[in-house]
């Protein structure tokens, strides 16, 4: 059979991600799209430990470890340094988790996008600080259990809504913004290829399900990622030079199908599920409106 995604692997086996890790799949597909002439910066996140302990590395391309808030600043510097050496054919990308993007790295990201460096910033969204032990982040969805929103008798689940960083990037007029998820590798590697062809700042947000953090069977990683799109919880869209396109899934699923597979939503009552459904519906119609304008 002809392969639907590039054959070359730039991520090696033997990395230390958990079994069924969505972030490992994200990295695999992103690097397939970017190719060997790339340089990577990773802030504190799961991926700062996944390549392995010294002297091992699981990546075939050079990688720079940066402080938590500095991924976007580091890629700005890498880009300008490579350009000064005349190596303009190299791609520079950051690969950061949702904590390092939505919370701690947001000002650095916003500034790098505003300065307009020719870089790609990939946010792999596992919806909490998974590396340090499942603490809530700005990107954790409403209703989720985390160790800092432990539910308990007072039902202290996360009360705030998810911050959609890709929407913020569109508001900032970044030339290319896309959301993707690992259940659709062809779509993901196509979006990375489009990002590679554009000169200027690019941003891709990838939903990466996390088996230990979301409490589900590691075999269901791809299934949950697919359900997130089919239930419209995580809409896939693309904004290229201000032109917005929303993917309408051919097959739809109910939100409770998506929630019921995950232990982090196990405590939710019917009325709370209804609140989530309303929020998802509202966001979907606002995205449809955005597409028409």
């Amino acid at each position: 059979m002809p392969l639907s995604i590039p054959r070359e692997e730039y991520m090696l086996p033997g990395h230390t991600a958990c079994a069924g890790c969505g972030a490992a799949l994200s990295m695999r597909y992103v690097l397939k799209g970017m190719g060997p002439k790339s340089a990577l910066a990773i802030p504190a996140c799961c991926w700062s430990i996944i390549p392995g302990e010294f002297p091992y590395t699981a990546l075939k391309i050079p990688m720079l470890q940066t402080p938590f808030a500095a991924a976007a600043a580091a890629i700005s510097g890498l880009r300008e340094g490579l350009d000064a050496q005349g190596k303009e054919d190299y791609n520079v990308l950051a690969f950061a988790g949702d904590g390092g993007t939505a919370d701690i790295g947001l000002q650095g990201l916003s500034a790098a996008m505003e300065r307009g460096h020719n870089v790609l910033y990939v946010m792999y969204d596992n919806e909490a600080y998974m590396n340090t032990g499942i603490q809530r982040s700005g990107s954790t969805p409403f209703g989720a259990w985390t160790t800092t929103t432990p539910v308990g008798l007072k039902r202290n689940y996360k009360r705030e809504n998810k911050k959609f960083v890709a929407d913020l990037m569109i508001a900032q007029n970044v030339p290319y913004v896309a959301t993707a998820t690992i259940a659709y590798p062809e779509d993901l590697s196509r979006k990375v290829a489009v990002a590679k062809s554009i000169k200027g700042p690019k941003f891709i947000q990838i939903l990466s399900p996390c088996p230990p953090g979301w409490f589900f069977n590691s075999a269901d990683t791809v299934k949950i990622s697919r359900l997130a799109v089919e239930s419209k919880v995580f809409p896939l869209y693309e904004s290229k030079n201000g032109k917005f396109a929303l993917y309408k899934p051919a097959k739809t699923a109910s939100i409770s199908d998506y929630l019921s597979l995950q232990g982090r939503f196990g405590h939710l009552r019917e009325e709370e599920v209804r609140l989530i459904e309303e929020a998802v519906e509202k966001r979907w119609s606002s995205l449809l409106e955005k597409e028409q304008n």
Binding site: M1, L3, S4, I5, E9, M11, L12, P13, G14, H15, T16, A17, C18, A19, G20, C21, G22, A24, L25, R28, P51, G52, F54, P55, Y56, T57, A58, I182, P185, P211, N217, S218, A219, D220, T221, V222, K223
Partner: protein, 96 residues
Amino acid sequence: MAILPITSVSSATKEMASWRTSKPVIEYSKCTRCEICWKFCPDVAIDLVIDPDLKSPSDRFKTLEAPVIDYNHCKGCGICAAECPFGAIEMVREEV
């Protein structure tokens, strides 16, 4: 010259088999070589090889690349078994 903290040893030299509690076993007589398991493996632990000795549903599949699991690196997550559209992969519990 200063010693720089640069990693250089490939992680592929490490063994990850001890992480596994069950292992995927491919039933080649059901495998149509669609490579979906290869596509979704988070550990890059599925190799594609042409091996006419492997079984297949019919002879026309024998010339195609077949997935072969690299048991040194498979962590046994079970995504390949869950995503296989033909039910050709079974998870078998590891004996200690």
